[in-house]
Symmetry: none
Subunit: 208 residues, 4 copies
DNA sequence: TATGAATGAGGTTTCATTCAT
DNA sequence: GATGAATGAAACCTCATTCAT
């Protein structure tokens, strides 16, 4: 009403989402009570259910927002069809690493939450997350194939390699978030890129 | 009872542990009820508490067993002081990969459980798991240092590299377990080793 | 609004009453939510409370209207003081049956609602309904007394007989409404009158 | 354990059932809280759910017991194939009236409850009750047919007549229970039988 | 050692009602 | 008069844990 917000989310909904993020991150999904969330948000118990069907619904909402934004940012920065040279490819991959690491750093509590709890909310939820991951894996696998054609990436099982890269990333970022230190994102991106590339690279390739 | 078992675990305790493993793996820690476990074990509700202080205690017990066995097996197969040549080192690392993958394959339901739920039982529990992982990371980091001295591994942040390798492993094994296919452990070990080594290896090294 | 309505009810109040009737009839008093009613009426949640003090109040209002109209119609058609002959009495009773059955048929959803839920809203409400019934029973009892004097009705406990007749009616109409068939009101009135007056017995039978 | 009870119901279950009967009768189904029942029974909240799946389940259990006992008693006292003479039929019908009235009197709070709330618990429940009533109606209709063959009952719509008789009964018993007086069951049975058989009319009256 | 009935705290969710705009 | 977002009191039900036998 008073501001020209571009989102349709109400002030209250926003506050509940923010509160949920904090509470979930601090206590974990299962230990977090809806009453914790509403207390943190400063609204009444019933208000929560005006905006979210259930505890799981708000969690899903948070996760969906996080991943769709992340995937949009990351994938739009790396249009595979624009890659024609090894240098371009390296540039893109490096860039994607930076974007992802920043995204996780900028929404640290949500990142922490997702990395910690994605697999143990329930079966349906796990599948939902798995679907997001599969998108990333698909992109990575496509990238690897493209790289192989350019002679940059050596031939290997692209799915396995993609999941390995993703896992490498998952764990390092988790540590990053847990330790709450390391704001040297750029350096970390460099090192992960090195690990990834040298792992994937063809013998003759002169990358880096 | 009748035989001179080398363990101190009673038959009943054994059955409860086995039942818990199955039930936890199938439903997850939070969804699993103690009543599910005792039903699966074929004992009464109260019997559970003769052997385990709480639901979390039995979970901890399962996880402790799993990790201490794994670490013992894996680390004893790779005494870092015995490494004097690059060939030996490769041999050891390859061996360790195989041991680990086999361990996870041989106790699939427990492996699945740990990979899925380790981080979301509770803070104390998370720290416990983190401690096991830290042992592995320490070993990996030591190895990397040793490798660096041998000119086999290029200089990099050993902690970061170690966590990255561990994450690579975590995720690929999780997929392995989830998909329930891929019994080609040996092949997988080869590929992971390749990814790891080429990622970590020094430029001039002639590994593999 | 535009016409000179004789009632004082506003258009909005009318719509809420109509909506409530439908919703209550479909879901029953307890399952019906105020939010269902306002949705059906197409007004806002708060508007409801401009016209009715509570959920029970609107229910009471509906029931009061139904019963006062019914009693007025029925009783005015049967002035007991006008009865001087058996023929007149039969005529009146027959007429009353028809009026009542028509009233229930013409407001089927409200009728259904009352027959189903009148006794289980709450104690105060039950007493209210009981009072309406008592009016009918009083009339029936008076009628029976009069009939007895005319030698038309045999001597019996007039209260018991009155409640019995009322129950006979209640249940048959309920079935009528439930089954949603039987628009043959006239025939039904005939049969009920027969049952009331003559019972089940055949003319020649020497029972008792 | 200590007594040679013929039922399999535990002492606790028995107490909960008894408590539920009282609480439901006093407050009605909807106003009765499970916590009221357990308080009345002197057991803990959770104990309730050891024996009954839900609040509706215990209600259903009470009602089922009531009706199956009633129907068994009543129907076994009136084997229609044994009827060969009008006298026998009257005898049987009279007997059935007495049995039913006694059953309701002997379990007054449950009777009250059923007569008050049978239709407003929920659709499934209503159908369940309706099924019991249909049994009674079927019996009554069969009886009427048989009576017609014996020349005792005049030809009429047997379903309508049966529901009418049932309603007559329902309402009079309800009044009986509500008023908490009238222990003169025998007299009441006589009068209801009279009404059922002969209606209101005097012997000499030439109605219609 | 084994049983299993009993416990009771506590969480999620619903919905009649209010009130500032 | 009309709105609809906000309220908050309950109520049902679960399940880890205990304890008398």
């Amino acid at each position: 009403m008073t501001d020209s917000s571009v989102t349709t989310e109400s002030h209250t909904q926003e506050r509940i989402l923010e509160a949920a993020k904090l509470v979930f991150a601090e206590k974990g999904y299962h230990a977090a009570r809806v009453s914790d969330i509403v207390e943190q948000a400063g609204v009444a118990q019933g208000t929560f259910y005006l905006y979210f069907k259930s505890k799981q619904a708000i969690f899903t909402s948070l996760v969906d927002t996080f991943f769709s934004q992340l995937l949009e940012e990351a994938l739009s920065a790396a249009p595979i069809e624009a890659v024609t040279s090894p240098e371009q490819m390296l540039q893109q991959v490096h860039n994607v690493w930076r974007i992802i690491l920043r995204h996780f750093r900028d929404d640290r509590s949500l990142a922490y939450l997702i990395l910690r709890e994605a697999r143990c909310i329930g079966p349906e939820f796990e599948e939902r997350i798995q679907a997001y991951y599969q998108q990333a894996v698909g992109w990575l696998a496509d990238y690897a194939s493209k790289g192989a054609k350019l002679g940059l990436v050596r031939p290997l099982d692209p799915q396995l390699a993609a999941w390995a890269v993703l896992g490498m990333f998952e764990r390092t970022v988790y540590q990053l978030v847990v330790l709450e230190g390391r704001d040297d994102i750029e350096l970390m991106a460099d090192q992960l890129l090195e690990l990834e590339l040298r792992g994937l690279m063809a013998d003759g390739a002169k990358g880096g």
